[in-house]
């Protein structure tokens, strides 16, 4: 079995060299800007996970974040079915992809997938709540590896099998995350101002830096929760409507969950940031 974090560590020198080559290929003033970006990433970028509202409620009520395998294990305990059976049902045609990557690694079923976040809401299409995590969530900074995008797109062959060479080429340890980010985004860094650096770090679902880590995510490891303003407004609108109209079950459940999360904010156990 492969060790993802050891592979990332072995790649540190190559990442430094690639970063230096990028700096050497541009002018001195440009290199200075790229270098400032790298320094900013190292100092500012945080680890985040995008989650759905019910995940947040689980954290606020004292539970922990569950990855696909942990969630399946919970269902297996309740239903008496096996993990693999439930996993195949949940993932269906994507089962091979998910397991070909994760289960090729030591402790792969403990992996959590997050990203490097410089101040935005991460990738919020499905996970509208961006949990910004404290670094202390990692047992050790060696329990994390970064990739310049989606690991399943970067490291799997067209037939869905894992390409070890691509894993070795793509991963970076925590100590070199800022070099990887800078070398991958030279053009974007030079074509924008420092104000937009958070968007350089996460710009689309195909352009972000994935962080794969092992660690327990509970409320105490969440520094703050970022929410897109439109989503925040949608939920308050639904709450207002619930005062005057009879909402459907799913709507009332969502308002109820949202108020549960807000109770955490009002009680000061979780910090909320609404992003425009």
């Amino acid at each position: 079995m492969l060790n993802l974090f050891a592979i990332a560590k072995q790649n540190a020198v190559a990442i430094s060299q690639a970063y230096q080559r990028e700096l050497d290929s541009i002018s001195g003033s440009e290199a200075s800007i790229v270098s400032s970006f790298a320094t900013w990433v190292e100092a500012t970028a945080q680890l985040s996970i995008n989650a759905r509202l019910h995940v947040l409620v689980r954290l606020v009520t004292g539970g922990a974040h569950l990855n696909t395998y942990e969630l399946t294990d919970e269902l297996a305990r309740l239903s008496g079915r096996t993990r693999d059976d439930l996993l195949r049902e949940r993932l269906n045609t994507f089962y091979e992809k998910r397991t070909n990557f994760d289960l090729a690694f030591v402790n792969g079923d403990k992996f959590r997938y997050g990203m490097l976040n410089g101040g935005g809401v991460g990738l919020s299409q499905y996970g509208t709540y961006c949990l910004v995590l404290d670094w202390s969530v990692l047992g050790s900074v060696e329990d994390i590896a970064y990739l310049p995008g989606d690991s399943l797109k970067l490291c799997l062959r067209a037939d869905g099998s894992l390409d070890q060479g691509l894993v070795e080429h793509s991963t970076t340890p925590h100590s070199h995350r800022h070099f990887m980010a800078a070398k991958e985004r030279v053009h974007d860094i030079l074509s924008t101002t420092s104000q937009h650096w958070p968007e350089v770090l996460v710009s689309s679902k195909d352009k972000y830096f994935e962080a794969i880590f092992i660690g327990t995510v509970t409320l105490s490891s969440v520094k703050c929760v970022r929410i897109v303003k439109s989503e925040y407004d949608r939920l308050w609108d639904m709450a207002f409507k619930s005062l005057d109209k009879h909402l459907s079950d799913a709507e009332r459940a969502e308002v109820d969950d949202f108020l549960q999360f807000r109770r955490g904010v009002v009680d000061g156990i979780i910090k909320e940031e609404v992003m425009r």
């Binding site: 759905r52 045609t93 994507f94 997938y113 207002f240 009879h246 079950d249």
Partner: protein, 203 residues
């Protein structure tokens, strides 16, 4: 089947639905405006990264599908021991709302609920605002809530005055008045009352 549920997030009743060639995100409040068209790539992302489960259930129409999604949320919440409340009290909502949201609610009380004569709901919201301890530090909000309560009282008075005026004018049978038939109709009514029957007895 017209619609096929391709993936579902049970806890929040969100589905990824194939309708013809199009994939849509169906989520509360299940309005078309809140159901964006999404890419095929997004389906994979939802299942692999966002905790959705693959599904393969067909439906004839959106009502059926929405009923299914709702039932799944109900089941999930019951399994969790957190049944969905039948209603949510204004106090629970106002207590959790930050001041800027409360302000927005007051605006909507004035621009939506009062003009639509939803006085009871409007009053319940305003009373929840006035009883909220954390808003005591915001006299502007409380003043506004008090003004709106007064506005509701005036609107209620105006509304009941209007009904009384209508009743006094007895405009219930405008056609009879127009055709000078009020007196005849009154005689007829009294005859029916005396007979205890609408039909005239056969002679």
């Amino acid at each position: 089947m017209r619609l096929r549920l391709e993936a579902i997030s049970v806890p929040d009743g969100v589905g990824i639905v194939r309708s013809g060639q199009t994939l849509r995100l169906a989520r509360p409040p299940y309005l078309l405006i809140n159901s964006p068209v999404i890419s095929e790539d997004s389906l994979q992302e939802a299942i692999l990264k966002a905790g959705f489960s693959a599904s393969n259930v067909g439906f004839q129409n959106w009502e059926e599908l929405i009923r299914f999604l709702n039932s799944k949320v109900v089941e999930y919440r019951e399994r969790q021991g957190r049944p969905i409340p039948n209603s949510i009290s204004p106090k629970d909502i106002i207590d959790m709302a930050p001041p800027e949201v409360v302000n927005g609610f007051l605006e909507r009380v004035e621009s939506e609920l009062i003009p639509q004569h939803h006085f009871d709901h409007a009053e319940a919201i305003l009373l929840a605002v006035l009883s909220n301890q954390s808003l005591l530090e915001r006299p502007m909000v409380l003043t506004r809530a008090t003004q709106l309560l007064r506005l509701i009282k005036e609107a209620r008075d105006t509304s009941s005055h209007g009904i009384e005026t209508l009743a006094r004018r007895d405009l219930r049978f405008p056609s009879l008045i127009k055709h000078n038939e009020v007196e005849r109709s009154d005689r007829l009514a009294r005859a029916i009352e005396t007979r205890g029957c609408v039909f005239v007895p056969a002679s």
